[in-house]
Symmetry: C2
Subunit: 375 residues, 2 copies
């Protein structure tokens, strides 16, 4: 085995993002056991910090011991039941993933679809829920595959009128823009550690409303996942009863990431993300790139300029990685080859990074065009 | 939130164990993306290192992005099928956990039971499998709740004759004593990062035989877990197709932990664990403690002396933690209050730690007895 010697990347893709130096230091703190009083102190502070970024008073607010997709599976596996109606607003890669997870749980899935990058308006969201009257409604607040932000208030109101629970994917919004779980009416939200919280991947914050908890208590079929069973997890996080060995070094990381949020102030942090997003959009438009998502519907955290006609996005990404050490990614599915995905999340969202990326991307596009002209 | 300031513990419980200093350093290396060529280089070296400690040539040998129980759930969720017969050798807490996971998958469970701390002999194992002819057989090689080692050769032979697959829990053996997946005939084995591999908790190494892979390919019902679906995981680890954002800092840790195994030499590492285990047993017996598991059936990694009559194990553990900063744990279920669980795993398995623990435990027992005599 060769000694570890990772290249220094500027991570401006859809995640992982740059890890704050203090977070690296936190992970080097000595490990303690999963029943150590200090472990529970760290967990309690993490829970308070997570409630702050989620915008919730939900008692059951915990870090799942897996990456963002484990958080998604926690939400789906605990609340989708075999044969019950599960509604998904489908407008991107991650809503398709929710659909796939619910299918595996045996739920009866109903879908409302939009092209990737568009969002659902209040009237159509309401009409869909009123027509279908599902038990659970899922939508993606921050669609990492498209860069679109889906408001949730109308969805949550209609869902609650129909006695449905609402799951929202906040993987790319938590810590970077307002998530507002309680004000929106979201029942179950999940996110990840490696985007706007400036930590490495490995944890998935999840929050569960009292209304959702009540549903869980009346559930008659067992949750198929033991590892992600929220009742067992609650017994550990609240009751300190052994469930699994929590990843303590990652908990230290998340604790530090949330301390950074607290020190910066949540609203100031949102404003930083918004400001750098607007600066990037201005720079991209100045170099002639069009944004895929309409103004006013864009995430502040993940930007999706369209790949200019005649340009191969893979070549540009390779030029950025090899020539500048900058990672950005391309599109999935219907957006493959059509958009770049540029993240400005957590520690990655700085004025300097906007300038670096704009400069490097401009050069890569120019070089690519000049090479195309020569050949 | 208060600044992180964990107490320095000497971790001699059933895990997490002491993390090697170089592993802490590894986690502070810069994060790269999940599609970065460097990420795949690290993963490939981890796979080679894991094959070495597992004693296998299995191509599908990967770290699951969760703790040891996620590895257990990977094994069960991919290979237990609704209505199919799933046999469990039950002689401790973790075989009960396998049973519970298989129940949630809808498998038809058959059990062979023994008191906690005993193991199954070849004849009874064979007879059970021949009688039941299950599709899957599961046993715990290294039972963390009892300290017993279960040999697997007879189980695997009988299972293969019946065309069954064998799952073995190697959570407490991997890297500390011979696991020998291929020589034993185990089809699916899983472990964890935080015991004999000297890393923090957060990853679960899993290995899958070609025979088990064939079963997976012919599986007709979908695996209920998307996050732990081995076919999707293989597509990422082998085909470099996006599945989830792998916890790269934990992968760095595991890479370093496996480098340490390589440098020490696997057989020398086993011998170190055996030697320190024997020294601890001698010390415990010298102070009048009886071992719960019969000689020749004991793990080298996790020791279970019986709690002396009239002693409250909680008081002893509190004395060790508060007075000496040493963590050991007690028993579960039928062994609650009856055994101590003392781990000597990975970096925790040293001559010095044996001496420290023996000294501190001796003092704690003496203090407890003298307090009892006074009151």
């Amino acid at each position: 085995m060769r000694p570890l010697d990772p290249p220094k990347r500027l991570l401006l893709g859809p995640g992982p993002s740059m890890v704050a130096p203090r977070v690296y230091q936190a992970m080097s703190k000595p490990v303690v056991g999963y029943l150590d009083p200090y472990c529970f102190q760290v967990i309690e502070e993490i829970q308070a910090g997570l409630r702050n970024v989620f915008g919730t008073k939900n008692e059951l607010t915990i870090p799942i011991s897996g990456t963002g997709s484990a958080g998604m599976e926690t939400a789906v596996a605990n609340f989708a039941e075999p044969g019950e109606k599960f509604a998904v607003f489908v407008n991107g890669f991650f809503s398709e993933r929710i659909n796939e997870m619910a299918r595996r749980q045996g739920a009866q899935i109903v879908r409302l679809e939009k092209p990737w990058g568009e969002i659902f308006d209040d009237a159509e969201a309401r009409e869909f829920i009123q027509r279908e009257r599902p038990r659970v409604v899922a939508y993606v607040q921050a669609e990492t595959s498209t860069g679109a932000f889906q408001p949730g208030k109308a969805i949550c109101e209609a869902a609650h009128e129909a006695d449905a629970l609402v799951i929202a994917d906040c993987v790319t919004s938590l810590g970077g823009m307002p998530v507002e779980v309680d004000a929106t009416g979201i029942d179950i939200a999940y996110s990840c550690s490696q985007k706007c919280l400036s930590c490495p991947p490995g944890l998935s914050p999840v929050t569960v409303s009292p209304r959702a908890w009540k549903r869980l208590e009346s559930r008659t079929t067992p949750v198929q996942s033991w590892y992600l069973d929220l009742k067992l997890l609650e017994a550990y996080y609240k009751g300190h009863k052994y469930h699994h060995t929590v990843p303590i070094s990652m908990l230290y990381a998340l604790h530090e990431g949330l301390s950074l949020v607290e020190e910066e102030g949540l609203e100031k942090r949102w404003e930083r993300h918004r400001r750098n997003h607007l600066a990037l959009v201005a720079a991209l438009e100045k170099m002639g790139l069009a944004m895929h998502v309409a103004q006013g519907r864009r995430l502040w955290t993940l930007n999706t300029p369209r790949v200019p006609h005649g340009i191969d996005d893979m070549n540009i990404r390779k030029r950025l990685l090899d020539g500048h050490g900058i990672e950005i990614l391309g599109g999935f599915g219907p957006l493959a080859g059509k958009v770049f995905r540029i993240g400005l999340m957590g520690s990655s969202s700085t004025e300097e990074n906007v300038a670096l990326l704009a400069d490097a991307l401009g050069k890569a596009l120019a070089a690519e065009r000049s090479q195309a002209a020569r050949s």
